[in-house]
């Protein structure tokens, strides 16, 4: 890459340049992009079918007809991992978006209007953060029914305190700034102040938190599904593929039924974390001197 010291580009160019210096993050971004394209388009291109049962192959290892073998019911493992990726990534990303949608307004209200709303919201955030969300998710999912939709919503809603706290902290630091005061003085409407001055200031930590929340949500979903309390078969997710590895005979003798799903899960979470790290370094203005 060419070095352009002294010539300062736009803020955005600087960010991109710093991001590109973080080799692992660039690789992670590339990997995740390919992975997302694969889980969206490969099933259509290859006509993958994760549900139909091959009566000639129950729990058979990799072969010409089944690239990565079949599970004990005779379903194609390769197709299940690709479809499982669709489910796991969708649950991860959507639930992080839900956390964001719930958390940001609450944090804004607490930080901007202060007073009672501040006490109520931040105390609630403390309560949610000090209690094991896994337990609440288990209880909620058992009461509401264990579908992909409820799992996504429950994981998403319970993830709100992270975002609320970030937005709250940055709102507190921005609301006393002179430019906010001048905006108020010339009669700018409250919602405009929030959208134009408060929100953009908090965007960097929120983007970073979003990546980590996505990774966390993928782990939570897979743990639930592994327990048999999350995404239910015949739908596939990386977690419920691994459910069958709880049987010792599968664990000991049929590695194709659990190793690939676990490894792709770890690599995906690892890449999301690297991406988050890369974005953090890139957005950290303290580093640009």
């Amino acid at each position: 890459m060419k070095k352009e010291k002294g010539i300062k580009g736009s803020y955005f160019q600087d960010v991109v340049e710093r991001f590109l210096h973080h080799k692992l993050a660039v690789f992670a971004l590339f990997f995740l992009a390919v992975e997302i394209l694969v889980v969206i388009f490969l099933p259509m291109i290859l006509g993958l079918d994760p549900y139909s049962i091959d009566v000639m192959a129950f729990g058979k290892g990799p072969s010409d007809t089944h690239l990565m073998g079949t599970d004990d019911v005779g379903r194609d493992m390769f197709a299940r991992i690709i479809y499982g990726g669709r489910v796991s990534l969708t649950v991860g990303i959507l639930s992080a978006i839900i956390s964001l949608i719930v958390g940001i307004p609450l944090g804004l209200i607490a930080g901007y209007f202060r007073g009672k709303s501040e006490i109520i919201v931040m105390r609630l955030a403390d309560i949610f953060m000090s209690f094991p969300s896994m337990i609440l998710i288990l209880v909620l999912a058992s009461v509401l029914g264990q579908s992909i939709v409820t799992i996504t919503v429950v994981i998403g809603v319970l993830g709100w305190p992270d975002f609320a706290r970030l937005i709250y902290a940055s709102t507190l630091s921005v609301r006393e700034k002179e430019y906010v005061e001048s905006a108020k003085a010339i009669g700018t409407k409250t919602h405009n102040i929030i959208l134009r001055y408060i929100v953009p200031n908090a965007s960097a930590p929120v983007i970073i938190a979003f990546t980590f929340r996505t990774a966390q949500a993928i782990i939570t979903e897979s743990s639930l599904s592994f327990l048999g309390l999350g995404v239910q078969p015949p739908a596939a997710s990386w977690g419920n593929i691994l459910y069958y590895a709880q049987s010792i005979s599968v664990l000991a003798n049929k590695p194709w039924m659990w190793v690939p799903a676990g490894i792709i899960l770890i690599i995906t979470v690892l890449c999301i974390n690297f991406l988050g790290d890369g974005i953090r370094d890139a957005l950290d203005t303290k580093m640009s001197v």
Binding site: P132, I135, V139, S142, S223, F226, L229, A245, A252, N273
Partner: protein, 318 residues
């Protein structure tokens, strides 16, 4: 000091109330009324049902039911299991010990492994050692408990039979301490992996920051031993955020214990939780949730106390 403890206790009370409200209303919303559960198959006549309803207080408004439930709670009565008919408290009580055992053991193990690794990383940043422990922490943080558990069972229990893969004791033979430790090794380590990952990163970051400070240079200038500089001067001052991180590990450890206990057939609250959810045994689900809430609150309180002991500023400023 006493005042500080009292204040932290007062903060814990609304948290506890919040959790009881949440748990109660969730179970209130749960499909299937308690009566249907008690009289699963019988076509008991309407009069008997109505009498029973009145006796259990199910004909009362929700908030009355809630206060009755909380009242019972303080008398140690958590109701009766739909599944076994036993008092919930008895079922829960015998499971508390094993869960405390592996969560506390894994908290201690995480601290013992992660803090030295983090300090060493910060001492020689960007060295081979740092890359090794940073790599370890990244992979640890990205590996779900259950997959780590599967891999360790496969390697150390199936391929080479060094550690048992389930239970607390060998079914035959006396329950010896050594046997218990032998059974604890895998679940404890598996439960720790993710926490070790995040704790290494936290320790490295905060020690690295403190090492830039002037008083470190002063300590070196006056001829302090490097080990003393590192562990007495730097670590002690870097400890606050690390303790906070340890405190925030508690909920994750308890959540992780559910998966780990289920995988290793560990007879704790987590595996009872999974069993109860599968059989829709709501009184037990509620009971476990409340007990866990109390345990977590006590855990947070202990962390707060450690915090104030280590950092005198907290004791006096607030």
């Amino acid at each position: 000091m006493g005042k500080y403890v009292l204040r932290r206790l007062l903060v814990a009370i609304p948290t506890f109330i919040g959790i009881t409200v949440l748990v109660f209303f969730l179970s209130y919303l749960a499909p299937g009324s308690p009566l249907e559960m008690l009289f699963m198959d019988s076509n008991a006549d309407a009069q008997v049902m109505a009498d029973m309803e009145a006796r259990l207080g199910l004909d009362q408004p929700v908030y009355v039911q809630y206060f009755r439930w909380v009242g019972q709670l303080f008398q140690g009565n958590l109701g009766y299991s739909y599944r076994t008919g036993l008092p919930v408290w008895d079922m829960v009580a015998e499971r508390i010990g094993p869960t405390l055992l592996i969560t506390i053991a894994s908290l201690v193990l995480s601290v013992l492994i992660a803090i030295p690794l983090g300090v060493m990383s910060a001492y020689k940043p960007y060295s081979g050692w740092d890359y090794f422990s940073s790599g370890l922490s990244f992979i640890g943080a990205a590996t779900p408990n259950f997959f780590a558990g599967l891999v360790f069972i496969y390697l150390l229990s199936v391929k080479v039979n060094i550690f048992p893969s389930s239970g607390m004791y060998d079914s035959a033979g006396a329950h010896t301490f050594l046997d218990l430790v032998h059974h604890m090794v895998l679940p404890t380590f598996v439960l720790s992996i993710q926490q070790i990952g995040s704790l290494i990163r936290q320790t490295r970051g905060s020690v690295l920051e403190v090492l830039q400070d002037d008083f470190i240079r002063t300590a070196r200038a006056k001829g302090c031993l490097e080990s003393r500089v590192l562990f007495r001067h730097a670590l002690r001052n870097a400890l606050s955020p690390v303790i906070t991180r340890i405190g925030s590990m508690i909920p994750f450890l308890v959540g992780g214990a559910v998966v780990t206990e289920q995988l290793f057939s560990w007879p704790g609250l987590g595996s009872l939780m999974v069993l109860s959810i599968n059989s829709r045994d709501y009184p037990v689900i509620m009971g476990i949730t409340v007990v866990i809430a109390v345990a977590v609150l006590i855990g947070n309180l202990i962390i707060d106390l450690i915090y104030s002991v280590l950092d005198p500023r907290i004791r006096y400023s607030k």
